[in-house]
């Protein structure tokens, strides 16, 4: 029999992972991959990468802190977060994540402190600095320049890799969602994270940095690599589903085929990768705001598509579940609020910390 089936009665299941989850995965992906941008300068000691390294460090710390708030908010019972620590569950990736995440954040903050430490000492010596005693204490005495930076860079990058592993695996193990159940997904999170963090650094370089052209060129070059990896991985996923090599990819494509919204999303995602790639290739200097904005958009939209659009695909029923973007804290307010929090963290960090290494000397301060 060749049936034509119309579903007349069924129920919808609301998305259990809300836009907060999109925010968390975006921010933590940005944070952990921004750590990679700090390595040439602070692990390998390449002076020419110092500006990129400092932009990367600021991005990593600010996004990491904001990300944790978004993660807590995605719990429907955020006040019970401590259950993660009283009921460790060795077979759940999310349980591992609850332990790996604080390790990453502590390592990251210590790493940032080690990088900023010599400048904190110099800030403590500036006349009229109210926080001088605090800066002096944080400078930790008369230690050599670069003290602990390399070991902490190693620990932080290992912790960052553990976050990439757990966030990827956490979603990949969900066999019930063919769009998620593929080894291409953890890689895609990593590559789109690299795209996002490079985008954030490009924007910060222009907005709060000095718009350094070498840093912009270097970041656009890094963006080319990240976008290239992202497009290659996406093409391999699509190809494996198209050719029937990967059953989940094939099922995911089947559940999306013919759906106009999904086709629009696919075209949009393709353009969000190709356009910044072309711009970064032909105009690596003077294009940072454009490539940065599109890169951030691309990384964020990938997560939105995977989580929100992915949860709109019923597991047993026909068609697509409707999703109405709520305007309150479970939707728009949550998204805007998280970005607002991130901006606030950036403002606090750049106000009180020597993030870019530019300290006004006593002479310069006195001549003002």
């Amino acid at each position: 029999m060749n049936p034509n089936i119309i579903e007349t009665i069924n129920i919808t299941r609301a998305a259990a992972w809300q836009p907060w989850a999109v925010q968390y995965f975006f921010l933590i992906g940005t944070s952990l991959t921004a750590v990679f941008l700090t390595l040439p300068a602070f692990l390998m000691g390449k002076q020419s990468y110092t500006k990129i390294g400092r932009l990367g460090l600021l991005t990593a710390v600010s996004c990491g802190i904001a990300g944790v708030v978004a993660l807590l908010a995605d719990l429907h019972q955020p006040g019970r977060f401590w259950h993660f620590y009283t009921d460790f569950t060795a077979w759940s990736w999310m349980s591992w994540g609850s332990f790996l995440l604080p390790v990453f954040l502590i390592a990251l903050v210590l790493y940032a402190w080690a990088v900023y430490r010599p400048d904190l000492g110099r800030m403590a010596e500036q006349p009229g600095t109210i926080l001088a005693p605090l800066y002096k204490a944080l400078a930790f005495g008369d230690k050599p320049e670069g003290w602990l930076v390399r070991p902490l860079a190693v620990v932080t990058v290992l912790a960052a890799c553990s976050i990439a592993l757990y966030t990827g695996m956490e979603v990949m193990v969900i066999k019930a969602r063919p769009l998620w159940h593929t080894p291409f997904l953890p890689l895609m999170y990593l590559f789109t994270g690299m795209v996002g963090s490079t985008g954030v650094c490009l924007l910060l370089n222009r907005i709060i940095g000095d718009g350094d052209r070498d840093a912009e060129r270097g970041l656009n070059r890094f963006l080319l690599v990240a976008l290239g990896l992202m497009m290659l991985n996406g093409a391999l996923w699509f190809g494996s589903g198209w050719a029937g090599v990967s059953a989940p990819a094939q099922r995911a494509l089947a559940s999306m085929s013919g759906n106009k919204e999904w086709i629009t999303v696919a075209v949009w995602a393709g353009l969000s990768a190709i356009v910044p790639f072309v711009i970064a290739w032909f105009k690596p200097v003077g294009s940072g705001v454009i490539t940065g904005l599109i890169a951030v958009h691309s990384a964020w939209m990938f997560r939105w598509t995977i989580f929100i659009n992915g949860q709109m695909l019923p597991k047993t029923g026909s068609g697509v579940y409707p999703y109405h973007f709520p305007l309150g804290s479970e939707g728009l307010l949550g998204v805007v609020g998280t970005f607002g929090l991130w901006v606030l963290i950036i403002v606090v960090l750049i106000t009180f910390l020597p993030w870019d290494g530019r300290i006004a000397t006593p002479d310069r301060a006195a001549s003002r």
């Binding site: 019930a176 026909s318 697509v320």
Partner: protein, 251 residues
Amino acid sequence: MEKSRRNFLKNVGKVTAGAVTVMTVTPVSAEPKRRGGDPKHRWAMVIDLRKCIGCQACTVSCSMENVPPIGQFRTIVSQYEVKNVDKPGQPVDYFMLPRLCNHCDNPPCIPVCPVQATYQQEDGVVLIDNEVCVGCGYCVQACPYDARFINEETKTADKCTFCYHRVRVGLLPACVESCVGGARIFGDVRDPNSEVSKLLDTNDVKVLRPEMNTKPHNYYIGMDEHFEGKVQGESPIWDIRNAKGEEIEES
């Protein structure tokens, strides 16, 4: 005084040695363990689709018994209008498909739970301790049957419990009790004389999404292959269109 101090030190030694022994002998478990319930039973449901008339009495009685928030359901009878494309003159038919938690023997919802709030009893019933649940929604994602949801009032994971509060005092689940056509049959598959055991012995039964290897314990009699998995059909409920194919907006 001297004696009691000696005893204290002696006991401290014993407790410490005991703790070390327990710590070294008891390895960290690598998979979830069943807890609670009576291992003499294995509860299951047989759903005879030939008898289901889609009246939704089960849906209503479940909601009366378990009081999920309005608009959220632990069970539902999905209904489908079916036409045979090869025989255009033939009248349309209807297919009724009661859906609920399958209380799988290999439940994918349990190993993902980060705080062990959801667990399986020795009698196979999958439950949620909603005082432990953090509402992370991970189990909702992992269930291949869309049987779980986040309860809008309790803010924790929710689903069918086979009305365990009734079963443990010898009553039937509310949906079974209220089924007009007697399509839902509940019982113990470990009892060879139970009605479910006899039905399983004498009928060709199918389960939903067998390819997921979840070993569901809801068995369907009269199941058609087109409805076992994700139903490839049109869904006009949320997307109402006019004769020209334009979406009809809510006025």
